[in-house]
């Protein structure tokens, strides 16, 4: 099969970018989208043109590195799939495919289709953890956790940090990511001591990073390759409200 690509090319973060058109020919429907880009790049190298930079690593849908906006949807047409797990059989022969980087103020483009998602790390550094010193932990079975809670925490933990939620949100909001990370830990008994400070600190780091606000449209959840539910956003809102109200009345140690 054969398709036409309209790809965003941008030399680096300081340059202006523009769309370039490339013909991708001799494709196999069982190729992944990234393998198709590999083929295009080999052709470009052959022609002496610089290959398209795109983010990739594991190519099995778990590392969260790949991040293309394909025909206006993060990761392409399939639901619950990353770019690397999108296959050419999802397109028709002769299609024109528009490929852009994930765009947001908090995710500056570094080159072509590669965006900097370090803002997610800064949110995690602000509170996305349970403080637990190696060697100081009690037995793993000391606190039973109901299967329902463990499963729900796992649903949140499935987040691969790819940023599709931000890319899909018309406001570039990171609420789904942050709520998945905070939600996982806030659900678990181990996460309770830091529950309030965690949600408050992560949300303020999120705000500082320049993400937009949630308008409850849930494009994030629809674009999420792991289909993480917007319910976690609701939970984060609840946790945030409760932390703020508690903050008003809590006793302070001297």
């Amino acid at each position: 099969m054969k398709v036409t690509l309209r790809v965003w090319r941008q030399k680096d973060g300081n340059s202006q970018g523009k769309f370039e058109e490339y013909a991708a020919e001799g494709l196999n429907p069982n190729m992944s989208f990234l393998e198709m880009l590999d083929v295009v790049n080999e052709d470009l190298i052959e022609k002496g043109e610089e290959p398209i930079a795109f983010a990739y690593d594991c190519r099995e849908g778990i590392c969260g590195t790949c991040s293309c906006m394909i025909n206006g949807k993060p990761h392409g047409p399939e639901n619950g799939a990353t770019t690397c797990q999108t296959y050419m059989r999802s397109f028709k022969d002769g299609d024109v495919i528009v490929v852009e980087p994930f765009r947001a103020k908090a995710f500056p483009v570094q080159k072509d289709l590669v965006t900097d998602r370090a803002a997610f790390d800064s949110i995690m550094q602000a509170g996305g953890y349970i403080t637990s010193r190696a060697g100081s932990c009690q037995d793993a079975n000391a606190i039973p956790i109901s299967k329902e809670i463990a499963d729900l925490a796992m649903d949140a933990a499935a987040c691969i940090g790819c940023g599709a939620c931000v890319a899909a949100c018309k406001n570039s909001s990171a609420m789904l990511f942050v709520s998945a990370k905070a939600g996982q830990l806030n659900l678990l008994p181990q996460g309770q001591p830091e529950k309030d400070s965690r949600v408050v600190n992560m949300v303020s780091a999120m705000d500082e990073a320049g993400f937009g606000n949630c308008t409850n449209q849930y494009e994030c959840s629809a674009a999420c390759p792991k289909l993480i539910s917007e319910e976690f956003i609701s939970k984060m809102n609840r946790d945030y409200l409760s932390a703020s109200v508690k903050g008003l009345f809590s006793a302070k140690a001297l």
């Binding site: 393998e35 790390d121 509170g127 953890y129 190696a134 793993a140 079975n141």
Partner: protein, 638 residues
Amino acid sequence: MILDSKIPSGPLEEKWDKHIMDGKLVNPANKRKYEIIVVGTGLAGASAASTLAELGYSVKAFTFHDSPRRAHSIAAQGGINATKNYQNDGDSVYRLFYDTVKGGDFRSREANVYRLSQVSANIIDQCVALGVPFAREYGGLLANRSFGGAQVSRTFYARGQTGQQLLLGAYSGLSRQIGLGNVELFANREMLELVVIDGHAKGIITRDVITGSIEKHSAHAVVLATGGYSNVFYLSTSALNSNVTAAWRAHRKGAAFANPCYTQIHPTCIPVSGDYQSKLTLMSESLRNDGRIWAPKNPGDKRPADQIPEDERDYYLERKYPSFGNLAPRDISSRSAKEVCDEGRGVGETGLGVYLDFKDAIDRLGEDVIRERYGNLFDIYHEITGESAYQQPMRIYPAVHYTMGGLWVDYNLMSTIPGCFVLGEANFSDHGANRLGASALMQGLADGYFVLPYTIPHYLAEVPREPAPPIDHPEFAKAEEEVVNRTKALLENNGKQSVNSFHKRLGKIIWDKCGMARNKSGLEEAIKEIPALRQEFEEDVRVLGAGDNLNQSLEMAGRVADFFELGELMCRDALAREESCGGHFREEHQYEDGEAKRDDEGFSHVSAWEWKGKDQPQVCHNEKLEYERVKMVTRSYK
């Protein structure tokens, strides 16, 4: 070169405790004066960096990814072993130790493996405390499953994403330390050279892959947790950016490289579908708990699976290994699949595949139970192949998955370069010639959380307490110059062929001649072909773009250049090891029934190779493996 494993004396059970007591400590007030570089932020690197920072050391963590969370540990699916014996089925520290030594075909260090088994239980405690959402029973206690060749259920898991959850746990701890300012994170930095001053590792040279700037970093010690080298095969289950460069640069600076020929082929991967393929995808081995592996009895039987009657199917693992059946260790399962395909009984378009059939399990347990257990794996399979494993058997074929070989380390995880420590898959230490399922995650975290933090003071307390060397030291300048020159040479080469095309050709040589089965003549050919190909690469590789911004071809070119040298060494090692053991199967050394034939007299040793300069063959040093406790037996899973 002297290989001193520094294994403590005394009974096996007491070695580790004794070693901890015997070692020197660093005064808490002095710890922050020690700077430690940790390269790699996978399970081993992230856990080591965060734990060292917790202890008070000044840590700099490096990753070539944009975030520490993307390291390839994330892709491990199946689980992590630990000797909790929560299932009351007779597991113990000794049993996991014995299983690991036996699984490694008696080519690992007894003391290291015993320590690994001892600390395994602590890992689970630590991970649960960090919020890792392991699978649980309805009563709220942790669930376990039996995994890859184990007869007890000691594997903890988090759906099919155990590696991801463990890595995110370690990453969260690391993130906390970064937030506190105890760890300085250098993301998007690829380590391109190790700096050795007066024989001690004192720093690294990195390239910022976004800006292209070459940077110098000094420290009191350098910890490499940079993963394995499966990508030398081009197609493997490793992430595409996984590479050997950091380890290889250390090797070239004097770190011995041990057992490079020990590579593990994973039996249950999705077969290759075409030559455009960039990556192989593994289906967790846990599938073998309920799936039955078979191939048609008759060569060339191209009927669809459901039209092949029961008596024309060969459930070859059950037939050959009645007690372990479909759960036979990875190397045995893989090789059996290869044999079946070599006999012309392979399935699928390419003939390189066998069936993994869930029909019996679905009949017995119902589709819902199978969906609950393996739903996400079946989804992955469907995503990639477009076939439903509920309706028809999966097709699987072995693929390279893990490399047991790596930089030689002593009991303290220090390489032959003092001050250079190596953790996780990058070292050679714990798995011998073959790794058991669910043990990689265990080793990575054991090294980072519970071994290195105890052993690194042994070194630091010995070296003079003075600041880390300044980065204007001549050795830094020299190392930097090497990097700059290599980069420049690649960019200015002006050849015709892409990096990828060379990588593919190298991978094919290694897979064909140093893959699942090796023989003398093939290896000798490979040893001739690889340097020739390397030469061609040096003359004709084409790297477009510039060095001052993101240039993925340039990054890959540097890695492939190192793969050439490594690939050649693998073949030399495989050629020198005139026996079959674990992941290393020499066709000349097998029993009549095709079983691997070990030579404990001649080869019960670690082969550690010393770099002698470009275009010079490395020299092999042997570390004799002493078994005080375990009696070596022929590994039998019949």
